[in-house]
């Protein structure tokens, strides 16, 4: 049975949103998604999946605070403590059981509610082996970037090219929080943070919400919807133990892509996929992820980005909407935002950052520091 996306709703991404409580932010994204899908959540939605982590929200049990603003009160709602693409995978499976026709996936960030972001991320480190050392948690990204750059012989210039591309791309995305006309030289002269990463290599946090409405093929047909199909989806985790995981490549993204390609019957991703939205919350991650999902050969992503191969007009447009470097880090909503952008592109609804003639797109996610978990979705337009 095929499963399609029939509704997309997003708020703007902003560094802070004092005018909204987290509930009100979720309500806006949900309202937009239901209007887009033409669906009444109170009578037509069979299942709601929200994606959230307690410490990002500041609640002992955040699941309590999810139903009302998405139309889920006294309805089947659950929290997937994962990123939005994992939530999408679970809604996809629910529909595949045949018992659910229409499902909703929600993810958001109210990062501006957090006063001590480093403290929250640090609290995710292994309490026996890592947390007592007292380092900033981003040192893990610094170490991984070092291992990746060294192994693939990628230059710091390539990282700067990723940042410049994504922040410039965001200038064409009215929802983006951190659009800027930045060039590689500015990135390379920004303050050092976790060598080889500089300040501008690290996506800044943002608030924002994303809601997608999914339907079975039969339900989509009944509603005369023109869905974007979830042709394949996969998710996987490498070791949670920092010391034993693979530091040079994103094994989780490779495994997730293999699963998604198997379901989507994609055999040669580099030729079959027209564009990609991948996690770039640290600049090197975009390159690492492109290689892991098979859209670049090992060691080549860095050279390709420098040559403009991932620009909107390049051979493989990557993060045309601006990525997290341009839109802001929306934490667990990051992956769902990627899927939403791919869906809008495939519908031809991406506005001034629309790319022409795209039929198949890839969305990829990572669960941020300190995880080695990620997901991949292959979306396709038309029949």
């Amino acid at each position: 049975m095929r499963v399609g996306i029939i509704g997309v709703g997003m708020t703007a991404f902003r560094p802070s949103t004092p005018e909204y409580s987290w509930k009100e932010l979720m309500f806006e994204a949900a309202s937009r998604a239901y209007a887009d899908a033409g669906v009444d959540p109170r009578t037509e939605v069979d299942s709601f999946v929200t994606c959230a982590e307690d410490y990002y929200e500041g609640f002992g049990i955040f699941d309590e605070f999810t139903p009302d603003q998405i139309g889920g009160a006294l309805r089947p709602v659950c929290t997937v403590t994962g990123d939005g693409l994992q939530g999408l995978a679970n809604a996809f499976m629910q529909i595949q059981t045949g018992l659910i026709d229409i499902a909703v996936v929600e993810a958001h960030s109210k990062a501006s509610d957090i006063l001590t972001l480093e403290g929250i991320i640090e609290h995710g480190l292994d309490p026996i082996w890592n947390k007592p050392l007292g380092g900033h948690p981003f040192l893990i990204a610094g170490l991984e970037a070092d291992a990746f750059l060294r192994k693939t012989r990628t230059s710091a210039k390539a990282l700067a090219a990723v940042v410049a591309k994504n922040r410039k791309n965001a200038l064409r995305n009215p929802l983006a929080a951190y659009a800027a006309n930045v060039d590689a030289a500015q990135v390379l002269s920004s303050p050092e943070r976790f060598t080889p990463l500089r300040a501008l290599d690290i996506a800044a946090p943002a608030d924002g919400g994303v809601v997608l409405v999914l339907a079975s093929e039969a339900a989509a047909k009944r509603r005369h919807a023109n869905p974007v199909w979830i042709r394949g989806i996969g998710w996987a985790s490498d070791s949670p133990t920092l010391e034993t995981r693979d530091w040079t490549q994103a094994a989780y993204a490779q495994l997730a892509a293999e699963m998604a390609y198997r379901l989507a019957k994609v055999r040669r991703p580099a030729t079959e996929i027209d564009f990609a939205e991948v996690d770039d919350r640290f600049s090197y991650k975009e390159l690492q992820h492109l290689e892991a999902v098979g859209l670049a050969k090992k060691g080549e992503a860095g050279r390709t980005v420098v040559k403009g191969g991932y620009d909107p007009g390049g051979a493989l447009p990557v993060n045309v909407a601006g990525g997290s470097l341009g839109c802001g880090n929306v934490f667990e909503a990051t992956g769902l935002h990627r899927a939403a952008e791919v869906a809008l592109q495939l519908r031809g609804d991406a506005g001034s950052h629309q790319i022409d003639g795209v039929r198949v797109g890839l969305a990829q996610s990572w669960r941020y520091i300190p995880s080695a978990t990620g997901a991949v979705a292959v979306l396709g337009a038309g029949q």
Binding site: S21, W22, K23, F27, R42, L115, T116, G119, I120, P127
Partner: protein, 173 residues
């Protein structure tokens, strides 16, 4: 299950093993601080508490008067329509007589706490709060109560601007 498995896993520790460091361990207190945006509905709610008033939102679709107020109706899934003030009197829906404080420490004088449905809001809609000016023998479900407000200068825009709910003398209304 029980028949086939001989050893059930788990190494039990005593409080002393942990607290006196008889097993190796790590201690930590996370730095996890927040300032939640109150947003549209709660900002107004808090401002009105500071004014000594309770405010609700109406939904013209289901005809409910929603308290605590929200900008959307969770039943109709539509934006709510209007602000409306409600009373500061109500009825005890349920209560507890607590000999425990927040840290589960025992206290000699119990806290009276419960849910009050507020007059003027739709039936059963209310808030959790303390009860005062009554004994644990006097408190009962169905009892009529009224907010006892802190003096104006002590109010901060918080549910604590109400000191507690005390008995309502109906004839004095």
């Amino acid at each position: 299950m029980s028949e086939r498995i001989k050893k059930w896993p788990g190494v039990e520790l005593s409080a002393a093993d942990l607290n006196e460091g008889k097993v190796t361990q790590t201690r930590f207190r996370p730095n996890a601080k927040y300032a939640w945006s109150a947003g549209e509905a709660m900002s107004r709610f808090l401002a009105e508490l500071q004014n000594g008033r309770l405010i609700a939102r109406t939904c013209h679709s289901c005809k409910r008067i929603l308290f605590p107020p929200r900008m959307f109706c969770e039943s109709c899934f539509r934006p709510t329509d209007e602000w409306t003030f409600i009373q500061d009197t109500g009825t005890i829906e349920t209560f507890s007589i607590s000999y425990l404080d927040t840290d589960a420490k025992r206290i000699p004088d119990p806290i009276l706490v419960g849910v009050v449905s507020i007059d003027g809001a739709s039936p059963k809609m209310g808030m959790m709060h303390y009860f005062g000016d009554m004994t644990k023998e006097q408190i009962r479900i169905g009892m009529r109560v009224k907010a006892v407000w802190r003096p104006w200068e002590e109010r901060r825009g918080s549910v604590l601007d109400i000191r507690h709910f005390g008995p309502l003398k109906e004839d004095a209304k």
